[in-house]
């Protein structure tokens, strides 16, 4: 097998929940030695997400497995000074440290950036927090969905003139995690050229606000504070989700030109709609968008989802089924995409895991199943710190390696 791009790079990952573990999964799959630090005394909350096949225990969560592949796991009780000392010895052998504790926690353990830099001057450290490392509200506690609210995205997401809506999939955790990969690699690239490490302070709220430029600029340029617009768009119409036959079945359609609208009307068997002065041109459709959406929705109901999607795609119109997870997992193109892999796990056997969403022509990522909590403690301490079995046993008895 050819060499992976990050072979030789070691990442000591104190991250938990979703964003940081998602970022380090990319790097582990691309060859980095990711060592995830956990403790049975304060396990990742994700290890408790659902009873998972009914058997108790924190090694069984399917959600945890779907995120934490391609890494080793060690157990360190960081409240213990000896555990902190071990962590510092591992830092010396690492290129990157990642974490997303509340501001100040890593310093408390003697693992703040200044501490790490004293141990390893070219270390790259990434801290992810809800609101950043400084400022009056730096020490707040939050999750992805709460930062989505703080950052302006939640208010903008919703039906017209209605309540603010949370976004599915605990947005923005995985989006931020994906961006973290880019930031870490930019820092690593610079280190390789200059020998200089750095500290990366990522505020999830700020990151989310960088992803709503349309609304922020509307405010800064015009003083207007925008509200939610549902599935609509200000440059396309129709642009929405419309009902098709069946219970809670929907289709998404995005029409970007008058010509496409004419084709849509033909397929929906109301060709006259395309000549209606209320709808003939894009500007008309945008002005009369409520009436337009009602006209479209009244016709889409006459089709099954698959039939209408096929007819629209045949005419090169942007349309797709609104999938739930079950639909997605039965989509032949998705199953053929290679994104799902069967990976082994020490306690539950094989599980199907979603891997990276990109394909490389010259890199074959290395996937292996998520670690059980502390699964590689002995291996890592022996291999990297040269500890003997006796030493390890003593530290375990002393509640250091738990």
């Amino acid at each position: 097998m050819t060499r992976l791009p990050f072979e030789g790079i070691r990442i000591l990952d104190f991250g938990w929940i979703f964003a940081v573990p998602h970022a380090t999964a990319y790097l582990g799959a691309l060859g980095a030695d990711v060592i995830r630090v956990e403790s049975t005394l304060a396990p990742d909350l994700v290890r408790f997400l659902t009873g998972t096949d009914g058997v108790p225990g924190f090694n069984r969560s399917g959600i945890y497995h779907a995120i934490n592949f391609s890494r080793r796991g060690i157990a360190l009780q960081l409240a213990h000074p000896k555990a902190q000392e071990i962590a510092r010895r591992l830092v010396k052998l690492s290129d990157v440290v990642t974490e997303n504790f509340t501001v100040g926690n890593m310093q408390k353990y003697g693992l703040g950036y200044e501490d790490l830099r004293a141990i390893r001057p070219d270390i790259i450290m990434l801290s992810g927090t809800p609101l950043g490392q400084d400022g009056p509200f730096a020490r707040t506690v939050g999750f992805g969905p709460t930062t989505q609210a703080y950052a302006g995205l939640c208010h903008l997401t919703g039906y017209p003139n209605s309540f603010p809506c949370g976004i599915g999939g605990t947005w923005p955790d995985f989006a931020v995690g994906t961006a973290m990969v880019f930031f870490l690699l930019a820092a690593l690239y610079h280190r390789d050229r200059t020998g200089q490490g750095k500290y990366l302070d990522l505020s999830m709220a700020e990151m989310v606000t960088t992803m709503i430029p349309e609304a922020m600029l509307e405010y800064f340029m015009n003083g207007r504070d925008p509200g939610p617009v549902g599935n609509r768009d200000d440059a396309m119409a129709p642009h929405g989700v419309y009902p098709v036959s069946g219970d809670d079945q929907w289709i998404a359609i995005a029409i970007s030109t008058d010509e496409e609208f004419r084709m849509l009307c033909g397929i929906l068997a109301v060709p006259s709609l395309a000549d209606d002065p209320k709808f003939a041109r894009l500007a008309d459709r945008l002005r009369n968008v409520e009436a337009l959406d009602a006209e479209v929705a009244a016709r889409t109901r006459n089709f099954t989802r698959e039939d209408l999607v096929a007819k629209l795609r045949e005419r090169q119109i942007a349309a797709g089924p609104v999938y739930n997870t079950q639909d997605l997992m039965q989509d032949k193109a998705f199953l053929a995409s290679g994104m799902l892999e069967k990976l082994g796990h020490g306690e539950v056997g094989e599980r199907i895991v979603p891997t990276l969403p990109v394909r490389f022509s010259a890199i074959e990522p290395r996937y292996f199943g998520a670690p059980m909590i502390g699964e590689h403690t002995d291996e890592v301490l022996r291999e990297l710190l040269g500890m003997s079995a006796d030493e390890i046993a003593q530290l375990r008895d002393g509640k250091v390696l738990v």
């Binding site: 809800p130 999750f143 610079h190 709503i212 600029l217």
Partner: protein, 422 residues
């Protein structure tokens, strides 16, 4: 005096990398490649943005515009997405323009191409063609559905990818009570585009490291649909591993309210919070003034609380009706409960935390003048994110790139411009 001589531009993380961004030639706005290239440009790479002559890149037409007056140079989205980029124009339908593109690619490290395989084949810029000509180039296809598979030439974009991934089906998050009148919903703006941009940018950086070892470039296939699917990996975990009888399994196929909805009304707006874990529940109890009902067996564990979420939410809403967003936020955070106000864009713009961190930055632009906008998505202690150059005017760097770098004569430049190749 010495000050001036000693002054050096701060070093930049991606200094030395050369990136080409191709325009999406679809009529659907698709901003993924623009965001991918922006992330490189803002950390110091040289990005040459290729735009169609006359109309320019799609974002130039989208606004927001000052006083709703459309102008190719002053649209907010254009100014935001194209910071720090060099701008050239090329009509890729013309073979002379494509020849110039090939000369740009010969000198580039990375190209982001947001066009479907069918369109690329027609323009003779398909990835295999490019790979054969430029073996060291990192050629990133950033498309709706990827460059192979049954859907590769279908059109998509933000709306379609969001809803085909399952993210739309889960939005609004735990708030749906009347499914027929509350259709699956798209996150505001262009989340799927920007996420896809970051996915492609991260993959391109991985290929830069790979090239250091192998000496080869490669093709990267970044699908917007799969990037959005990647946001729902917990659901795939649940679908693959949970028993269909488990309550959580329902989320994979039904839009029903189950579990905490996260967003609740306070007296002056909304707040977002969750107190599902035991620790947060204990904190929340203190915040609420330790009412007796919270000690009931009905609420003794996360599982028990999930089963009685309606009762909890009714009590929370009652309590919040006497609190402002700010008082709820402060009281909850004092007990380490994750609770944040729901902010509007205007409130974000004026927010004390963002201000203290100087998050928003001003871009100075010769035509648009000064425009304020979101700044760094991540703070680097050295090599900071910064705007050293505002968004390019349409074709602003044609001379710099085509004459100074590719050695066209002024006369050739003029004639290509007259023939609308440039």
């Amino acid at each position: 005096m010495a000050h001036f001589e000693d002054y050096q531009e701060p070093p930049e993380a991606l200094d030395g990398l050369k990136v080409i961004e191709l325009p999406c030639l679809d009529t659907i706005p698709f901003m993924a490649a623009a965001m991918a290239a922006k992330s490189f440009a803002d950390f110091g790479a040289e990005v040459i943005k290729v735009e169609p002559p006359r109309s320019g890149a799609r974002e130039r037409q989208l606004g927001p515009f000052r006083d709703a007056m459309p102008d190719l140079e002053t649209g907010g989205l254009h100014l935001y997405l194209n910071t720090n980029k060099l701008g050239v124009t090329l009509n890729l339908e013309d073979s002379r323009a494509r020849d110039l593109l090939m000369r740009l690619l010969a000198d580039a490290d990375i190209v982001f191409n947001p066009n479907t395989p069918a369109r690329c084949e027609r323009l003779e810029i398909g990835w295999r063609t490019i790979a054969d000509r430029f073996p060291k180039l990192i050629n990133v296809s950033v498309t709706y559905f990827g460059t192979d598979g049954a859907y590769r030439d279908y059109r998509g974009g933000d709306l379609v990818a969001t809803h085909m991934s399952g993210v739309g089906f889960e939005t609004p998050w735990h708030q749906v009570t009347d499914p027929p009148n509350e259709p699956p919903l798209k996150p505001a703006g262009r989340q799927a585009d920007y996420l896809t941009g970051y996915t492609a940018a991260a993959a391109a950086m991985a290929a830069v490291f790979d090239r250091k070892h192998s000496g080869r470039g490669q093709h990267i296939d970044s699908s917007q649909w799969l990037a959005m699917v990647s946001m729902l990996r917990p659901n795939i975990g649940v679908y693959s591993h949970e028993s269909p009888e488990a309550p959580i399994y329902e989320r994979t196929r039904k839009r029903i309210k189950r579990g905490a909805q996260w967003v609740y009304p306070a007296s002056d707006g909304w707040v977002s919070f969750n107190a599902g874990t035991d620790r947060f529940w204990r904190g929340w109890k203190k915040v609420m003034g330790s009412p007796e009902w919270m000690d009931s067996e009905m609420f003794a564990s996360p599982v028990a609380r999930a089963a009685h979420i309606d009762a909890i939410e009714a009590a929370v809403i009652d309590w919040l009706s006497g609190e402002t967003r700010d008082s709820a936020f402060r009281k909850a955070q004092a007990e380490h409960v994750p609770c944040f106000p729901v902010h509007t864009a205007a409130e974000v713009a004026e927010n004390a935390q963002y201000r203290a961190r100087r998050f928003f930055v001003d871009q100075d632009h010769p035509v648009a003048k000064t425009v304020r906008m979101p700044g760094a998505p991540c703070r680097f202690s050295a090599t900071p994110w910064r705007i050293k150059r505002g968004a390019p005017r349409l074709g602003e760097h044609n001379r710099k790139i085509f004459v100074e770098r590719l050695a066209l004569s002024e006369r050739e430049l003029e004639s290509l411009r007259a023939e609308r190749v440039i």
